[in-house]
């Protein structure tokens, strides 16, 4: 082990004794704060949903968004497969699974843009009323998080193509995966609360 790596292990010895990696721990805490951020937006949506009834929610395209939900959930599977591949040192499979994750993420965003455009044509916009405001803000911020995840996946893909990721150095993939799963889980809550329980 290089001297740098030796010092690294030594610096974080208390955490290693607990079986923790500092980057992973930091990511979990970031996710905790993200949970509270979406918690605020979701609370606002639900508050108005039960206060105003949100009759506009009947206009939502549950079939389209249901398919989109399947797309996003499948991407959680592909990212796990990518992690498994890199841990086994199978570079080619890793690249393929990650590429598929990116494609599914982009497909989800495409579906969301299509859905948003459709709603705008029907007159539901950010400024059309409380429903539009809380719907577009909540799902829009989720979409921004998916977009951020896609960018992150592309960065990880570039690192994979350059060969800096391998069986010993797969933490970057695992941490990206944590974020990606979190974005998926948020969507499950949003899909249930916005589209299924109308």
């Amino acid at each position: 082990m290089s001297q740098h790596a030796m010092q690294h292990v030594e610096d974080f010895r208390a955490g290693h004794a607990l079986g923790l990696d500092h980057r992973k721990l930091g990511m979990w805490m970031f996710i905790a704060s993200e949970v509270m951020f979406f918690g605020g937006l979701i609370a606002a949506y639900l508050h108005y949903k039960y206060r105003l009834g949100f009759p506009e929610a009947a206009e939502l395209n549950v079939v389209l968004v249901g398919i989109n939900t399947m797309v996003l959930l499948t991407s959680s599977y592909t990212v796990v497969s990518a992690l498994a591949a890199i841990r086994q040192g199978r570079q080619g499979r890793f690249i393929a699974w990650l590429l598929l994750t990116i494609l599914l993420g982009v497909a989800f965003l495409g579906g969301q843009i299509y859905e948003f455009a459709d709603l705008v044509r029907q007159g539901v916009t950010l400024t059309s009323g409380v429903f539009g405001s809380s719907f577009f803000t909540l799902t829009g911020f989720h979409g921004l998080h998916v977009a951020g995840g896609v960018l992150w996946a592309i960065v990880t893909l570039v690192r994979g193509l350059r060969g800096t990721l391998n069986a010993e150095h797969s933490m970057a993939v695992e941490i990206f995966g944590l974020y990606w799963h979190f974005v998926d889980i948020v969507w499950i809550v949003l899909f249930t609360q916005i589209y299924l329980i109308v």
């Binding site: 010092q7 690294h8 030594e10 610096d11 974080f12 010895r13 208390a14 955490g15 290693h16 607990l18 923790l20 500092h22 721990l25 930091g26 805490m29 970031f30 905790a32 704060s33 993200e34 949970v35 509270m36 951020f37 979406f38 918690g39 605020g40 937006l41 609370a43 606002a44 508050h47 108005y48 206060r51 105003l52 950010l126 400024t127 009323g129 409380v130 539009g132 405001s133 809380s134 803000t137 911020f141």
Partner: protein, 537 residues
């Protein structure tokens, strides 16, 4: 781990630097500049209130000054100065070379100056005038500066979240060999509790600020009452963060006090585990009390009682701390250094703030004094008499470690005396004015309140003046004060086991911890300095 270049030039304080000690000083000095600015705004407020009529500032300007005074003092002074202490001290206290994420740490700091400038710029764009609470619809209809204000607070929140992630990861991952959680200094425990609160509460405020900003800029209808928007929603989102924020601002301050008493009483701290756990209890309970700010906002009356009870329960862990501190100094061999004086001042003034907090948690009392000067007096006793006293106590205590120079104790005592008199003179009369019914956030008031306000203005003048000896003391001492030893106060925590100021990466050899941080006069105490005084009591 990336650490800074070995350069020890003063210029390193003005550039991107990942050394936690440099970042700590950057935090403390930057926030002190905002403290002076916030203090100048307070002087404008107090000058206007010296007479019942509006003669210095018109109503709108007064609101802008008062809004920015509150926001600067909370978001750009107390929160960042305590984060500065955390940055400087945590790696030293746990025997680490730096923070877990040094570059993220530098980023947390470098968000603050632009956010502060944004806040100042908002003044010139037609300043925010909705109070630091930014209640809707006031904050929706106000001048454009309100948008910059919201953006600035959002940025400062993000900086705080990054800092909290760093503090927690550092403490969990990077403790020196033998430094178990039950051997952590109590300041570190305070920072753990505070960081947990920052992590859970700040993002909720961010979500609310986004709604306000969207309502203002895009024209969304979150808070448009005519479309069904609900102003009370903002109050919930705001206080979900901003009540825990008072614990975020006091828990590290209590940690500082817990460091100082054992050293200057030469006794082990009384109730170490109880103090540590009471910080955690306050962090958990603190998330359940926010709606006590909304007793008059038309909430369901049945909901008031649980919020009253949980708010009052916070007095229990707080009381545990105060009694533990008193038991620590009881029969101790006290040394009345400036730091110790500020710590003693902290107890007396924080107690007034804390007890009046229990009054305010009681629904019938709150209905009477809500939005009066009683609330203003209470919060200033907690934040100024409490947090700011602790910050001064900490500055006098750790200045030798940070700069390698000793402060002048005589000037320090003068500073303490002026500060103590000024604080009580400024804020005690406000209790009476509030009980008599003087509303807060007004530029003009009934002449029957004149004498209370003039006492308060005199107190504020003394407070403003008290900053001068402090600034003189720090600047002159930093330049040519007597050199400080590694451990001038004969303390036991790890930061004193390295030179003053500590070298890059803190310790020539990572210390191995064999005992608690306050084992004065106990057989298991590690051999600290040869000059260590034997403990008494």
């Amino acid at each position: 781990m990336t650490t800074a270049s070995a350069s020890v030039s003063w210029r390193r304080y003005f550039w991107w630097n990942t050394d936690h000690k440099v970042i700590g000083v950057q935090y403390i000095v930057t926030s002190f500049l905002f403290f002076i600015l916030g203090g100048a705004l307070a002087m404008l407020v107090r000058s206007e209130l010296a007479t019942p009529a509006t003669d210095l500032l018109d109503g709108s300007t007064f609101n802008q000054v008062m809004t920015n005074h509150g926001t600067l003092m909370i978001f750009l002074w107390i929160l960042p100065v305590l984060a500065g202490f955390g940055n400087y001290l945590i790696p030293l206290m746990i025997g680490a070379r730096d923070m877990a994420f040094p570059r993220l740490n530098a980023l947390s700091y470098w968000i603050i100056p632009p956010a502060g400038l944004l806040m100042i710029a908002s003044f010139f764009a037609g300043g925010a005038e909705a109070g630091w609470t930014a209640y809707v619809p006031l904050s929706i209809g106000g001048p454009p500066g309100q948008t910059l204000w919201a953006l600035s607070v959002m940025l400062l929140g993000i900086s705080g979240i990054f800092g909290a992630i760093n503090f927690l990861t550092t403490v969990i991952m990077m403790r020196a060999p033998g430094l178990t959680f039950w051997r952590l200094p109590l300041f570190v425990w305070g920072m753990i509790a505070t960081s947990l609160l920052i992590l859970t509460a700040t993002p909720v405020l961010t979500s609310g600020l986004i709604m306000v900003a969207l309502d203002r800029v895009v024209g969304t209808h979150f808070f448009t009452v005519t479309s069904g928007g609900d102003p009370v929603l903002w109050q919930n989102l705001f206080w979900f963060y901003s009540h825990p924020a008072v614990y975020i601002m006091i828990l590290p301050a209590m940690g500082i006090i817990s460091e100082i008493f054992p050293v200057f009483a030469r006794k082990p701290i009384f109730g170490y585990r109880m103090i540590a756990m009471s910080s955690m209890a306050i962090a958990v309970l603190g998330l359940t009390v926010w709606a006590h700010h909304m007793f008059t906002s038309g909430m369901d009356p049945r909901l008031r009682v649980p919020y009253m009870v949980s708010s009052m329960v916070i007095a229990v862990p707080t009381g545990i701390k105060i009694f533990s501190w008193l038991a620590t100094i009881w029969y101790g061999k006290l040394r009345f250094t400036t730091s110790m004086l500020f710590a003693l001042g902290f107890i007396s003034m924080f107690l007034i703030g804390g007890l009046t907090g229990i009054f305010l948690a009681a629904i019938p009392v709150d209905l009477h004094v809500h939005d009066t000067y009683f609330v203003v007096a209470h919060l200033h006793f907690v934040l100024f008499g409490g947090s700011v006293s602790a910050v001064y106590a900490g500055l006098y205590y750790w200045f030798p470690k940070i700069t390698g120079r000793m402060l002048d104790e005589k000037i320090g005592r003068t500073h303490f005396a002026l500060n103590f008199i000024g604080t009580n003179l400024a804020y005690l009369p406000m209790f009476i004015a509030g009980l008599m019914g003087m509303p807060r956030r007004v530029a003009a008031y009934d002449p029957s309140f004149t004498s209370y306000n003039q006492w308060a203005t005199l107190g504020a003048l003394i407070l403003a003046f008290s900053t001068m000896p402090f600034l003189y003391n720090t600047i002159v001492s930093w330049a040519r004060g007597p050199k400080a030893a590694a451990n001038p106060w004969q303390a036991q925590t790890l930061e004193w086991r390295t030179s003053s100021p500590p070298p890059l990466e803190n310790f020539s050899e990572i210390p191995i911890v064999t005992g608690g941080p306050y084992d004065y006069g106990e057989p298991s105490a590690p051999a600290a300095e040869p000059a260590a005084a034997p403990a008494a009591g």
